[in-house]
């Protein structure tokens, strides 16, 4: 079946098996390898990408791309890690925060983790005031085996503070 998905602002149309998972569409058809996978059971969040529903005014939200068929993403806008930075190459604050705070080691969980982190900041009315528990709860669908999470929490805080100081770096109008 023909599936067309907009990923990072570019539309990819491919004739695929109906059972094809979104994560495999992203990796094998759009050839964007930044989105990884880590389990067979929707537990790890390694495969998380941001999905934007054009019909809704909610910010793009994280989805486990291993738990959706590619066909189900038709009509949505997907943002993967490759699409996080601005077109001129300026990194998204969440990317800067992860680097600044040493929130990645092997880097395998990082794209999914940054996607969830980005969403936590965007959906929160007052992101710099997020509690530790709110952030921990927010990323509890993302496993990381390397970092021990502390620095990821710091990185999300770093990004929230950066966005507050540099409102132009926020991706969505709020």
């Amino acid at each position: 079946m023909l599936v067309s998905i907009s990923i990072n602002g570019q539309v990819y149309s491919h004739d695929v098996e109906p059972r094809l998972l979104l994560v495999h569409f992203i990796r094998e058809y759009a050839e964007l390898h930044g989105t990884h996978w880590g389990c067979d059971t929707s537990n790890c969040g390694i495969c998380i990408v941001l999905m934007d529903d054009p019909q809704s005014d909610q910010p793009p939200y994280p989805v486990k791309s291993c738990t959706m068929l590619a066909a189900m993403a038709q009509g949505y806008e997907i943002t993967t890690v490759e699409g996080m930075a601005k077109p001129d190459g300026t990194l998204d604050p969440i990317q800067m925060g992860f680097h600044e705070m040493h929130a990645l080691q092997c880097g395998f969980c990082t794209p999914g983790m940054m996607s969830t982190g980005r969403w936590l900041i965007e959906r929160h009315p007052n992101p710099t005031q997020m509690t530790d528990h709110e952030i921990r709860d927010g990323i509890s669908g993302n496993l990381c085996r390397c970092t021990g999470y502390d620095n990821i929490i710091k990185a999300i805080r770093w990004a929230a503070a950066y966005i507050e100081e540099h409102p132009e770096s926020a991706r969505t109008a709020r």
Partner: protein, 811 residues
């Protein structure tokens, strides 16, 4: 789109970061040791890492493995005809096909053999039975369903205690002369007679039966390989994220009978290893055989269930232990262990040490006697016994000794910190030889313990515990003090399959003064591209931004045994320091010519040689490098160029140590353990990059929380693996960790024999934290309910059962 124009593709050459932020230049990099953000982050935060599954080669086929539904069964027949008829299937390989290639069985690191594909029998649930190669990964999975295997089910053994029963079914009937399920002869360390004497004279003896349960390292990226045998040239390129690429190359040469010079292993980025990526797995051999058979590159990437159920597990040590005291001090320890190796002994450790470094079991204490013995058995469980973030069974040893100190303190009715303080090896006793023959290099245990108590406010915590107890609440405080022996090891007694456990380094300083350093160590996230550049920077005064660290390509790096057992800094780091000093010495010769003086008259300061007594007259390493390549009048005997090689043979292991305190609250109604605080004081000697060290500690602590509270691979009576997914094998999320973060402290006792005084840290936190947490849980139950022991993992059902005197749920 905003990403860099040229992706990394699959070329390790891309690791050469040019200048510019997006290639990993760090603005405020120190020239040497100190806090420095990581160079490798640049590609990872942009989604441009290059992991196993990202490898794509022209004409590449996809492999998938059919696995056994039984733990123990005879194979009568395998019918692959329907699978072969599938339009997308290129080949199906079973044991008898491998036999023709001589690949049906492969040697393990422990001098056992392991079936690549089961031919006669399956010996564990989800063992490899057939390998399908198809044009896409989905079709390969489909074709697995079309293979028909006829089995006769046999009784299975999953309990190591029953493996040696006289009527136990024989698991390894493939081995000539094998009549029981003993995997290797009894192995022991320590003077038994002396130890028995110490026990006979003791005041108090504590006894416990302690199980360190089977767990799994679970890197977030599973294992896999792309094998690319070029039929025209006989060149075999292997893309495979593993922790010891050079050793793997040698093993493949031996297993497959291929010329070693034609094998090239390319480890690009690795999504975590933790010991899981040390061994050679059947899937790798299948991918190689598949590429030979199909004449095309073959990719095989296991899924999570395969990773959990079939690749290197950890622990599974059942330890009958006794510890004794006299005059208020710990005096003796003895332990009798059954090691469950599963169906094949592929335990990963230094070959002459069948129980790894388990005999470091005397821990941080000045004992009068110690003895340990280990019996290894086969069971119908997956093979492994890898060091999950651990230096060869030291996690088991530290878990045992630290649980036993608490048990003994309980019997003696003294505070567990007090007993430790009385019994520690004193700082003036180093170098200290233990009862089982280890020579600890350096340490100040009392200082580290005191610092941890200070950070924790230990007195305050004990008071709070009493107050809570009075209110019917359960709170526990757990102590663990570990000494780890890492950086294996001295070639005079440590090898793997005869390969000395050394590491090489090669350093080339280019005419522009920029450098490339090549390692045999293999990062899986530890940050080698940054920290090894910092070592060269410290030694030569070149900015880490101008030093490229090359690893992960056996054609382009010197030989060495890789990264596990916290070897990178102790061994490879030693090699890098030594090779830098060789270059520095060579630079001195050139500087003498440039400055028209004698080499002996020059002194070094970071980045330049200068004339003693006339510091204005000097040559920078940059100008020396240019001179080394361009001078036209070199004297006889002095070669041009500025580069060197080194192989580092560590004179001893290094012995990092630390004091850990865990604070937990236990719900008396449900048994749920809340990890409230964790205090970790680590002494890993000199810290190259404190940020990276702390990151390692955080990560290891969480893996420790996992083992203490959540992680276990369990089996039912028929031998079915019950935890082959993340639904059932639970890894800690951010919520299971202390809400406000870990509380770290450090002391620095440099390693006296290491070139830069470093000891290695990657595994310490994962070694020290499980006993601290288990001790905390038992402490809570002891004070509230008098419970004296429970085995990990302390998840609610098990804790509830322990504190209510019920039988533990089966494992």
């Amino acid at each position: 789109m905003a990403t860099v124009e040229t992706g990394p593709g699959r070329h390790p050459e891309w690791y050469a970061h040019a200048t510019g932020d997006k290639f990993g230049k760090i603005a405020d990099a120190p020239i040497g040791f100190g806090h420095m953000k990581r160079k490798e982050d640049a590609r990872f935060i942009r989604g441009l890492g290059d992991y196993m599954d990202d490898v794509r080669l022209p004409g590449m086929l996809h492999g998938a493995i059919l696995r056994s539904p039984y733990a123990h069964a005879r194979i009568n027949s395998i019918d692959t005809s329907a699978a072969l008829a599938h339009p997308k299937v290129a080949a199906v390989i079973i044991a008898k096909d491998l036999e023709t290639l001589g690949l049906a069985w492969m040697p393990t690191i422990s001098y056992d053999t392991q079936a690549v594909l089961a031919g006669d029998k399956v010996r564990f649930h989800l063992q490899e039975v057939a390998f399908v190669i198809a044009t896409d990964a989905y079709a390969a999975q489909d074709a697995l369903q079309l293979i028909d295997v006829d089995y006769d089910v046999l009784p299975a053994i999953v309990n190591c205690r029953k493996a040696l029963d006289p009527d136990a079914p024989l698991i390894r009937d493939d081995k000539v002369g094998q009549t029981d399920n003993l995997a290797s002869p009894l192995w022991e360390a320590g003077d038994k007679a002396n130890c028995d004497r110490v026990f006979a004279e003791a005041d108090v003896v504590a006894k416990r039966t302690i199980l360190d349960p089977r767990s799994h390292p679970c890197p977030m990226e599973t294992c896999g390989m792309v094998a690319d045998m070029n039929p025209a040239t006989g060149q075999l390129n292997i893309y495979n994220g593993n922790q010891a690429p050079h050793a793997h190359r040698t093993v493949y040469a031996q297993v497959a009978g291929l010329p070693e010079q034609n094998i090239r292993i390319l480890c690009n980025d690795i999504g975590g290893g933790f010991g899981n990526k040390v061994p050679v797995y059947p899937g790798y051999v299948c991918a190689i055989a598949g590429s030979i058979v199909a004449g095309a590159p073959v990719k095989w990437i296991e899924d999570r269930s395969e990773n959990l159920a079939s690749t290197g597990f950890a622990r599974d040590y059942l330890m009958y232990s006794e510890m004794c005291s006299k005059g208020g001090k710990i005096t003796g320890l003895r332990v009798d262990t059954i090691a469950d190796h599963g169906a094949f002994d592929s335990t990963a450790q230094a070959t002459k040490f069948p129980a790894g470094f388990f005999h470091i079991v005397t821990g941080s204490y000045d004992l009068q006697g110690a003895h340990c013995q280990v019996k290894a058995v086969y069971t119908n469980k997956a093979p492994g016994g890898v060091a999950y973030r651990c230096s060869f069974r030291i996690t088991e040893a530290v878990y045992l000794v630290e649980r036993m100190v608490d048990a003994l303190a309980m019997e003696m009715n003294v505070d567990p910190v007090e007993l430790r303080m009385r019994s520690f090896i004193r700082s003036d006793q180093f170098p200290y030889e233990t009862q089982t023959g280890w020579v600890y290099d350096s340490g100040d245990y009392h200082k580290a313990m005191k610092l941890a108590m200070e950070i924790a406010d230990y007195e305050g915590l004990r008071k709070e515990q009493q107050e809570k107890l009075a209110r019917g609440e359960m709170m526990g405080i757990g102590i663990a003090f570990f000494t780890e022996g890492v950086g294996a090891g001295p070639r005079r007694h440590m090898d793997i399959l005869g390969l000395a456990m050394n590491d090489g380094a090669e350093l080339r300083v280019h005419p522009s003064g920029k450098a490339v350093v090549s390692l045999s160590a293999q990062t899986q996230g530890q940050g080698h591209e940054t920290t090894f550049a910092q070592i060269v920077a410290e030694e030569l005064g070149i900015s880490p931004n101008e030093i490229m660290v090359r690893h992960g390509d056996t054609d382009k790096t010197p030989y060495g045994l890789g990264t596990y057992g916290s070897r990178s800094t102790p061994v490879s780091g030693g090699a890098v320091a030594v090779v830098s000093r060789k270059v520095r010495d060579k630079a001195r010769q050139f500087a003498a010519l440039m400055l028209e003086t004698r080499a002996e008259d020059l002194a070094w300061e970071k980045g330049r040689w200068y004339v003693k007594g006339d510091p204005e007259r000097g040559s920078t390493i940059e100008s020396i490098a240019e001179y080394a390549y361009s001078a036209s009048n070199l004297p006889e005997g002095l070669e041009g160029g500025l580069d060197a090689n080194a192989v580092y043979d560590p004179p001893n292991l290094t012995y990092p140590f630390g004091a850990y305190i865990a604070v937990v609250d236990v719900d008396p109604g449900t048994g749920k353990v809340h990890m409230r605080r964790f205090i970790a004081v680590d002494d890993c000697g000199v810290r190259i990059n404190p940020m990276v060290v702390e990151g390692q500690i955080h990560g290891g602590l969480v893996e420790g929380i996992g083992q203490a509270l959540m992680e276990i691979i369990s089996f039912d009576e028929q031998g079915n693996c019950l935890n082959a997914s993340f639904m059932d094998y639970l890894l800690p999320t951010a919520l299971e960790c202390p809400e406000h973060g870990f509380e770290l402290g450090e002391t620095v006792t440099p390693c006296p024999h290491h070139p830069i005084g470093a000891k290695g840290v990657g595994e310490s936190p994962c070694v020290g934290s499980p006993p601290a947490i288990a001790n905390a849980v038992v402490d809570a139950m002891y004070h509230a309910k008098g419970v004296k022991h429970m085995d990990m993992p302390c998840f609610p059902a098990r804790v509830w059962a322990a504190m209510n005197g019920r039988e533990q749920p089966p494992q």
